[in-house]
């Protein structure tokens, strides 16, 4: 089986033809230089070729909450968003805190076969923050776990966090911290600000994130380990990360598409589709996060795709679940936030949505150069398409997409995963 991609723009730089056979790119040449009568030919005139996107932070909900998402539906949503690899967060039921559960997730992902699903292991048993899960067993399992996170909860005990950082050094693991001081955020509902006071919603202060980021950066430096900060959301976190990177601390960080695009004023509607943890912040935070991503202070974009059924989102704000879906809109949101504003170009997008995430996840087949003999994981984007998001139009089982009815620029049109078209012209195959 061969696929010939004609006249596509390689990361927005030069136009090429690209021939794929089985799972590999076998030939790249100048535009209109390659012909092959046996190949399926796709004209990419006006389209951008990126390496397949890699998400470091995805909630696929299986096992346990198959009413919200399954590995099959989440994989389809990922393929539609241009992803070829996702990292499944550990907060499932049961929690992914044993080799058994992570291998189950890994196998389910392989059987679906639309993206590579890499499980993230829990740091502590049951995400309870009390004792370490069997990290080494998960690392040695078939799922080959390298990223560990209690996401949804912060590893707030400093001793436990220190031990986790030390322990994963044995297999070159990384601890991905959900930075949220639990005492400073009891029952917190939205960003603490004048607006939270006005709306009568308990505030989630920026400092509750920053205090943990600062502590963990220092711990990481002290024990010479690797730290990844999940969903950085504040200007203060950016400042701490800048300091840490100056000091050459081994810390990486992600930002979500929604924190790059939305701000707390959305909460005025009391529409719980805007309820997320960490919360939407201020315009100034959004600006600083964008700049930090462009400058590399924040390394990557990660979706924090968090599907929830309607009944968990349509009621009162306080009783609604935290989280937003985002796999299908991620690329468009990031392009609108970063390219339309001239803060980044398409090569930068490739870096923050594919190459760096693959490095952090230590994935051999993703985020690679688009070159001969590489695995063909590709994401093809129409940079000029403007479209209006319809939350109902989704492959996810859930519709809690905060970008509903917003107009975005650019859209993923084809996705190629290990040499196969998982999406063609917007239609996911399977």
């Amino acid at each position: 089986m061969k696929i010939l991609l004609k006249n596509g723009s390689l990361k927005g730089e030069k136009n090429v033809d690209l021939l794929i056979e089985n799972d590999k790119i076998i030939k790249i040449g100048p535009a209109k230089s390659i012909t092959d009568v046996n190949a399926e030919v796709i004209d990419l005139s006006g389209l951008i070729i990126l390496p397949g996107l890699v998400d470091l932070h995805t909630h696929l909900r299986e096992p346990g909450r198959e009413d919200a998402e399954t590995i099959a539906t989440g994989s389809a949503a990922a393929a539609r968003g241009g992803f070829t690899a996702v990292h499944a967060m550990a907060n499932t039921l049961p929690v992914a805190d044993t080799a058994g559960v992570v291998e189950q997730v890994w196998n389910l992902g392989k059987n679906v076969g639309l993206v590579d699903v890499y499980p993230i292991g829990a740091v502590t048993v049951g995400l309870k923050g009390e004792k370490l899960a069997e990290l080494s067993a998960m690392a040695d399992s078939n799922a080959r776990v390298r990223i560990f996170s209690d996401d949804g909860f912060c590893v707030s005990d400093p001793v436990l966090m220190r031990r986790a950082l030390e322990y994963v050094k044995a297999f070159d693991g990384v601890i991905a911290q959900h930075a949220q001081d639990p005492r400073l955020t009891q029952n917190a509902q939205m960003n603490e600000s004048e607006l939270s006071g006005k709306l009568g919603l308990i505030g989630w202060p920026a400092i509750a994130e920053e205090a943990i980021v600062a502590r963990d950066v220092l711990l990481t430096e002290h024990v010479k380990s690797k730290l990844h900060i999940c969903h950085a959301s504040t200007a203060g976190t950016v400042e701490i990360l800048r300091w840490a990177k100056d000091k050459k601390v081994n810390v990486t960080a992600e930002v979500t598409p929604h924190h790059l695009f939305l701000n707390q004023t959305s909460c005025e509607s009391y529409n719980a589709n805007f309820k997320v943890n960490p919360p939407l912040r201020t315009n100034k935070d959004v600006e600083e996060l964008r700049k930090a991503l462009a400058q590399g202070i924040i390394d990557v974009v990660a979706t924090d795709h968090a599907p929830h059924p309607i009944e968990d989102k349509e009621g009162e704000w306080q009783s609604a679940a935290f989280g937003m879906t985002g796999l299908e809109t991620a690329l468009s949101v990031v392009a609108t936030a970063m390219i339309d504003t001239k803060l980044m170009n398409w090569a930068d997008i490739a870096r923050v949505m594919s190459e760096r995430p693959a490095e952090i996840g230590q994935l051999a087949d993703h985020g690679r150069p688009i070159a001969e003999n590489e695995i063909a994981n590709l994401c093809i984007v129409d940079p000029e398409m403007t479209w209006k998001v319809d939350a109902q139009d989704t492959h996810s089982l859930s519709t809690n997409n905060p970008f509903h009815e917003m107009t975005l620029k650019s859209k993923v049109v084809h996705t190629i995963f290990r040499g196969k078209l998982t999406m063609k012209n917007g239609q996911v195959k399977k």
């Binding site: 603490e192 600000s193 004048e194 607006l195 939270s196 006071g197 006005k198 709306l199 009568g200 919603l201 308990i202 505030g203 202060p205 509607s269 009391y270 009944e311 349509e314 009621g315 009162e316 704000w317 306080q318 009783s319």
Partner: protein
């Protein structure tokens, strides 16, 4: 006026004065032997209370009944709500029963907003207190009480200074009052220990202070908020006694206030905590009157939102 009353900010100055003027006329009903108008005959008002609040509920109930509306009290306690029925299902049930107005009290900030904006029901929504957000009819009755005493029951409240003292952070009464007083031209001054003032208070309309004694001599009215002793456990203040010493209204402090100054309290009072019995029962205190004014103001709100008008009221009643 807007269709619903969810926030004090739904009212323009003209709207607010209209409510107060209407309440003034309706208040005369309460002095008559037969305390009833036929105005809302055949209309259904549902008191949808997800939180206990006997005072507010009976105030709305009395207001509805005096206007001849049919009143249905829906209390969440012991109903299907406590078994997990959603706000949406409850709303749609009320819709099917033909509610014309829903008076909602809810523990979650924003619940009345959802009811008013989600197209679950056609009824008029009146917020009777939501979480730590707003309680607009309380603000209206406070404004009515102040206007009656200090502005001869007419016009707006321009030039009047009102201290709002206590747990501003968790108080829906304080939020609605801050907005409405400003709308009516008055100056609210929020007084509390820094722990009980919301973040960003410096950007609220009006002034704030940590020192009750500095504020008292210059205000025309002081509104004491209920302070729950439980706040102590969350370290908002060290002890009830220390709170009371610094922010409680007692006889000595009352003496330092202006002669004409009013003492208000939305009730129920913690006598001995934020207010002493002596002050609560003093001649400056209008706490009992607030209750009566509450009925008049709620009659006015129901009347205006359910499609009455001044001229019509004139024919029917006075």
């Amino acid at each position: 006026m807007k269709k619903h009353l969810v926030s004090a900010s739904d009212l323009t100055k003209e709207d607010a004065v209209l409510v107060l003027d209407t309440a003034k006329e309706l208040a005369t009903i309460s002095d008559r032997p037969v305390k009833k108008l036929p105005t809302l005959r055949g209309r259904t008002v549902v008191n949808l209370f997800f939180e206990d609040s006997t005072r507010t509920r009976i105030s709305f109930e009395a207001a509805s009944k005096r206007l001849s509306a049919d009143v249905i009290n829906f209390s969440a306690k012991g109903s299907s709500v406590s078994k997990g029925e959603s706000l949406k299902d409850t709303a749609q049930t009320l819709q099917s029963m033909g509610a014309d107005a829903v008076v909602i009290r809810h523990g979650s900030s924003g619940a009345p907003h959802l009811l008013a904006t989600r197209n679950w029901i056609d009824a008029v929504v009146i917020n009777a207190g939501d979480g730590t957000h707003e309680h607009p009819t309380q603000a209206l009755l406070d404004a009515y009480t102040i206007r009656k005493h200090l502005r001869k029951n007419e016009g707006d409240l321009s030039g009047i200074k009102v201290a709002i003292v206590g747990d501003i952070l968790h108080s829906r009464v304080a939020r609605s009052n801050a907005i409405l007083l400003k709308t009516l031209g008055a100056t609210p001054i929020m007084v509390a220990p820094p722990t009980l003032l919301p973040v960003g208070i410096e950007n609220w309309n009006g002034e704030y202070s940590y020192n009750l004694d500095d504020v008292l001599p210059k205000v025309d009215a002081v509104m004491m908020l209920r302070v729950q002793q439980e706040r102590m456990n969350d370290a908002y203040f060290p002890t009830a006694r220390e709170y009371s010493r610094n922010f409680g209204l007692n006889a000595q402090r009352l003496k330092r206030m202006q002669e004409h100054a009013l003492v208000l309290h939305p009730g129920p009072m913690n006598r001995g905590m934020e207010i002493t019995a002596e002050v609560a029962d003093s001649k400056n205190s209008v706490v009992i009157e607030q209750v009566a004014n509450g009925v008049s103001v709620r009659m006015a709100v129901l009347y205006l939102l359910l499609g009455g008008s001044n001229s019509e009221m004139g024919e029917n009643s006075l």
